[in-house]
Each structure stands twice: as C-alpha cells, then as structure tokens.
C-alpha cells in the first residue's frame, strides 16, 4: 500500500509533495491533515480506477511553506499553482476534504473555467452561528479519534508513526499539518466563501459521513443552495468526518462514479 511515484513541486519557493498512482482519468485530491500524512486504503481505492494525484497543500504532510501563507487568497493561489504544477488540465476533477476542501471550493469559485468537476468531503468554509462547526483544535489527544471518525481505531492507525519513522520527526510533521489546517481555518468563521460560493459553476458532489461530528451534515444544504452549478449530495452510512478513513471503499466508489 504505497504510491507509485512521489513528485516534488515548488510552490512559492518551498517544496511540496504530490503522490501519484494508478491509470485512467486524472483525479486530483487535496487531503485533510490525517490523509496527507500517510498513504491509505482510500488512496489505493481511488488509484484502482483513476490516475490519482494526491497533492499535499503547503504545510500538510510532506510539504513545506504553510507558514508563509497568511490569507485565503494565498491558499487559493498556492492550491492552484500546485494543481497546475502537478499536471492538472482544465476540465479535470478536483477532490478536497475537510480543511483542504475549503481551499478546493474557493479555487473553483475564483477560476470556474479550470475545474471540470468538484468533490467536497465534509468541507469547511461556511459557518452558521446557530449550528457551529466543531473546534477541532481544542481537543484532547484521547478524544480526537472519536470526534473525527466513527471507527476511532482507523484514525489512530492513520496518525501513528510508520515503522522505522523517527518519532520526533513524525510528531513534528503531524503538528505541522495541524498547524497548516489551523492557518486555513482559525478561528472557525466563514472563510468569506459565502460571498464567492455562487461563482462555483462546476458540477459538484458533496460527500458527508452521516455521523460527521465536525461539520454537521446539514451544511450540505448550505453549500448546495449557494452554488450555481449542478450539485448532488451523498451521505455515507457509518461514516464520520474523515469518511475516507471510516468507509474508504464506499467513499472512493462514490467519487469515481461521479468523476467518470
């Protein structure tokens, strides 16, 4: 279970990592913190029927430079530059998850002609004070698995240092990825996406774990109502916020069916 190739692309002068595997239609994926740290069965499930490019945004797993980005425009430019450097062609499909989905959807808003299809998995970006998203940066270590996943063991396994990895380096990489997500999301308000969401014209699939404890599934309606293109929504049973870890096969199958 590993990528076939690892590419390094330079974003604003800092090295960022792209994992590639599989053949077929190109599929570009901005993983969340956890999925950026380690290759998973979800990656393999996508790569089984597509040419997957898993792009770690600056600061996320294997990438540097998150500390140089100060605002949402900076994240969007970095994300777009990364896609193009990885070989993204106008009309390709972009998948974003959790915090990284807040960047993916904004790229689709700023450059609507670039994105062919858009998949958002439990995306941040909008904020409803009456039903706030979970503060994922105020969690005790022991409670995080149960907040992020319906199957806490899947989260713990994903976050554990791989065999042979130096514990200090792994821990710093994990913290750096969390920091990058915090740099995008803190302090959990609307990323101003609500003002731009109408510019998203790409056909979009909204994917949610039905037991998402971080971004309530009701947010799907808020996203769908704000977009201008065709939107379909799918909730995945027995899935939490990181539904890619809870239900990797079902999640990948839904994405592949939508993309093809």
């Amino acid at each position: 279970m590993s990528p076939s190739r690892t590419h390094t692309v330079e974003i604003a002068g800092r090295p960022c990592r792209v994992w590639e595997k599989g053949s077929g239609p190109s599929l570009f994926y901005f993983p969340s913190t956890a999925l950026s740290l380690k290759w998973s069965s979800f990656h393999d499930a996508l790569a089984a029927r597509a040419r997957l490019f898993a792009c770690s945004l600056p600061g996320f797993g294997g990438s540097e430079g998150g500390d140089a980005i100060d605002d949402q425009l900076g994240w969007c430019l970095a994300g777009r530059d990364m896609l193009l450097a990885a070989g993204f062609k106008p009309g390709d499909t972009l998948v974003g998850s959790s915090a990284a989905a807040a960047v993916a959807v904004d790229i689709a808003a700023l450059w609507p002609d670039l994105i062919g299809k858009l998949v958002l998995i439990g995306p941040f970006g909008l904020y409803d004070m009456a039903e706030p998203t979970r503060d994922i940066f105020a969690l005790q270590t022991k409670e995080a698995p149960g907040v992020f996943c319906e199957n806490p063991g899947a989260y713990s396994e994903q976050m554990a240092a791989p065999a042979g990895e130096e514990a200090i380096l792994w821990s710093i990489g994990v913290n750096r990825a969390h920091e990058a997500a915090a740099r995008i999301l803190w302090p959990f308000g609307d990323t101003r996406l609500s003002r731009r969401l109408h510019r998203v014209t790409a056909p979009t699939l909204l994917l949610w774990g039905e037991a998402d404890k971080v971004v309530p599934p009701s947010y799907a309606t808020r996203f769908a109502d704000g977009m201008s293109g065709k939107v379909s929504t799918m909730t995945i049973a027995r899935g939490g916020h990181l539904v890619e870890l809870d239900r990797p096969q079902e999640t990948a199958a839904a994405i592949l069916a939508f993309a093809q």
Partner: protein, 418 residues
C-alpha cells in the same frame, strides 16, 4: 535583588464545587458566575493592596493581562497601571505585560505605555508577552500559527514608535500604516526597559538574548519544577556569550509569611488550595493549539528534561491541589520570615535570578491577610535579601525615572467649587 509585588487579581468567589461543575476557569468560564457589584469591591481592594506594597517598599508593583479568565481580572493592565502611576511615587510600575499581537494597530501599546511612563515620571517596565493560547488564540481569536510572527512585527513597530523622531510609514506583513506618529512619547529614552514573560520557549530565550531583554519565567508551579527551564535559559545565554548578570532573569513565586510555619499554613492553606483547585482549573483542550509552540521548542521538549516541566505547566495535569503537595512541590514557599528568606535565597542563587516576582496575594486571600503577608515580607524578609547580587552586578534593565517628579495632587474642594 529586586522584589516586584505581583497581582493577578483573581476572582475570589468561585463556588466550592467549581471544579466538579465547571470545566474551565478560562476561555469559557460561565459568565453568570461574575458579580459586578462584588467586582467593584475587589478591584478597589486589589488596587489598595498594590499601592500598599509600594508603600511598604517593594521595588516594583506588577500587573498583567488576561482575558475571559477567572483568576486574572485585568483584560487591560494599562488601566490599572495608570491609576497606580498616580497613586504611588517611587515604585516601578511593571506591566508584564500587554500582549502585542492582540492589538490592531499595535501602536496602541506604544501610546498607552508612553502615557504610563509620562504619568509615572519614567517608572514603567514594559512587558511584552506573546500571551497564552487561552488568552490570545481562544479568547481573542488570533491564529496560533501566526501569533509569534505578529508579535515580532508588533515589537518592531512599537520600538520604532518610541525611537524614531519623525513621522514614518510602516509596511509590515500584518500591519500597514501610512502615518505613524506616537504622541505621547516615553520619558525613558531610548525606551522603557523591556521584560519578556515566558513559559519555557527556546525561541523566546534566544530572542531575549539577541534583544538583550529580561526573561521572566512566570510558571505557577514553583521552584521545584523550574530548574530545567531556568537552566535552559542560562545555557542559551552562554551560547550567545552573554554574561550571567542575574538581573537578566526574573522568576515568579507564590509566598506566604507568618511568625512561624504552622501559623503560615493556617493563614495560607485556604487561598493556596483555592488557587490550585479552582483558579487553575483550566481545560487542557485550550493549552496547545497547533502552531503555538514552535518546531524548535517541540524538538527541545521531546529531547530534554524540560519536557517534564513543560508537560506539568502547560497541560494542567497531575497538579498538586492540597496544601501538603503544594508545599512539597514548591508551588508556594511558606514559613517564618527566616525560613522564607532562606528558601528564596537558595532559589535566587540556584536559578541565578535577580528579579523575584512575588505573588503575596493568591486565590481568595482577603485584603487583611494580603496586607499582613506583604508587610511581613517587606519588613522581615526583604531586608535579608536586598543586597543579593547588587554589589556584583549592575541592573541595566531597571527604570530610570526623572529625578524630579510631580505627585498626584487632589484638587481642593473650594477650588473645585469655584
């Protein structure tokens, strides 16, 4: 040796079952617990206590900044400092400090500190904390990943405010101002002494050394757990080839003095247990937002003994909360004047610290007990230690007030009537 009388201004009426029924004293403490009428009384009593400490001969009186916090009722320490500047005459006014990254623009801090320095006639010590994650990231919504960068930029801007004698523009990463022109300007030139309170960050030690600022370790967990941190600080100074002038360093310590140890325990047991049970009942979720701790400090803590102390102080776990443990771990130094003096002398020498930040009011200690503790310390402890380090080292980081200063002069009633 310099003694700074430090007030946190704790809320003294948290209920006995606070720890059981409320999950944090900080960030999301229940607003319904706050009684403004009670606050009217305690703010005035606390300011009385600070003024009394100045009268008793402490070298400085000291205040700090907290937000949404049940043990620290000074969201704006500069408000308190301004009043103290009027009502005291000789003691230095130490604001330890104002959290630079929270203010937009940070020139506000330059202005307010300059006001305090002018009103006090040059008695200000300007404290520049990065700020705790609870205050800055959670209560004030600052991004933890950008906090230190914002702080450093704000520091540079404030220094320019105080030192440039021209109107200038500032085009920073986080702050842009076409016109910067700080009126008033501080009495002390080129600027008031700058002290940095901190909790054990490698980067803060290094920065204090480079800038030649005083570093103050402001843990609430006493001297026993502080050894590794203070050693780390002095190791960094040695690496930078700085001298071992003890006035470069400050250390915070809770102290209770009475005629004898038994009497001290009788007097200070309840306030100490109040503080460590209720005031420090902080939800650990708020302790380490991502990006707050730099990678350099993460590496150090994972590799060194400092980790032990850091875990204890940052995660609010495994704390002592009964008087026996509180005393054993040295959270509070307690005893007769001679016993306290002996302990503080040993601490000062071991840590090579020339500035002791004394918490003589803590928890729900009432005004009468606080004044007793303050007087006992000033009259019977301070004289035993006052000469420590003074013959060997020059304190280069102490305020230099005007020789001739104006005192507060209440307007006579008949003049007011006219």
């Amino acid at each position: 040796m310099r003694f700074l009388w430090f007030h946190l201004m704790p809320y003294p009426d948290l209920p006995a079952d606070f720890k059981q029924k409320h999950h944090s004293v900080w960030v999301d403490i229940d607003p319904k617990l706050f009684d403004p009428v009670r606050a009217h009384q305690i703010y005035n009593e606390y300011m009385d206590e600070l003024e009394y400490a100045a009268e008793c001969g402490f070298d400085a009186i000291c205040v700090n900044e907290h937000h949404a916090n049940g043990y620290g009722l000074m969201p704006s320490p500069n408000l308190i400092a301004t009043s103290l500047a009027r009502r005291t005459s000789d003691a230095a006014i130490c604001v330890l400090g104002s959290s630079l990254a929270l203010y937009n623009p940070p020139t506000r801090i330059a202005e307010e500190f300059a006001m305090v320095d002018c009103i006090s006639g040059g008695r200000l010590i300007a404290g520049f904390p990065i700020g705790t994650p609870m205050d800055t990231c959670f209560a004030y919504g600052q991004n933890p990943s950008m906090l230190r960068q914002r702080y450093l930029e704000a520091h540079d801007l404030i220094k320019e405010c105080w030192q440039r004698d021209e109107v200038f523009s500032f085009n920073g990463r986080f702050n842009q101002q076409r016109y910067v022109n700080t009126w008033p300007r501080p009495v002390q030139q080129p600027c008031p002494p700058i002290w940095i309170p901190g909790g054990g960050s490698v980067d803060t030690w290094a920065w204090c050394g480079v800038q030649d600022y005083v570093y103050c370790y402001t843990s609430y967990y006493g001297h026993v757990s502080a050894a590794a941190t203070m050693q780390g600080y002095w190791n960094e100074m040695a690496q930078q080839k700085k001298d071992r002038n003890p006035f470069r360093a400050g250390f915070l310590q809770f102290v209770g003095v009475a005629e004898n140890r038994d009497e001290a325990i009788r007097l200070y047991k309840e306030p100490a247990e109040y503080f460590y049970n209720r005031s420090l009942h902080v939800d650990p979720r708020y302790a380490t937002p991502p990006g707050y701790v730099t990678e350099a400090t993460q590496r150090m803590k994972m590799k060194s003994q400092v980790k032990i102390a850091a875990d204890r102080s940052q995660l609010f776990g495994s704390l002592q909360n009964e008087i026996a443990g509180i005393l054993k771990e040295g959270y509070v130094v307690i005893g007769s004047p001679d016993e306290v003096a002996d302990q503080l002398r040993a601490i000062a020498r071991e840590f090579n610290v020339g500035n002791l930040l004394m918490l003589l009011q803590f928890g729900n200690m009432d005004k009468e007990t606080t004044m007793y503790n303050t007087r006992m310390f000033a009259e019977r402890v301070m004289p035993q230690l006052a000469d420590l380090f003074e013959d060997e080292w020059e304190h280069k980081w102490w305020p230099k007030p005007l020789a001739k200063r104006v005192q507060a002069a209440p307007v006579a009633a008949k003049v007011a009537a006219e």
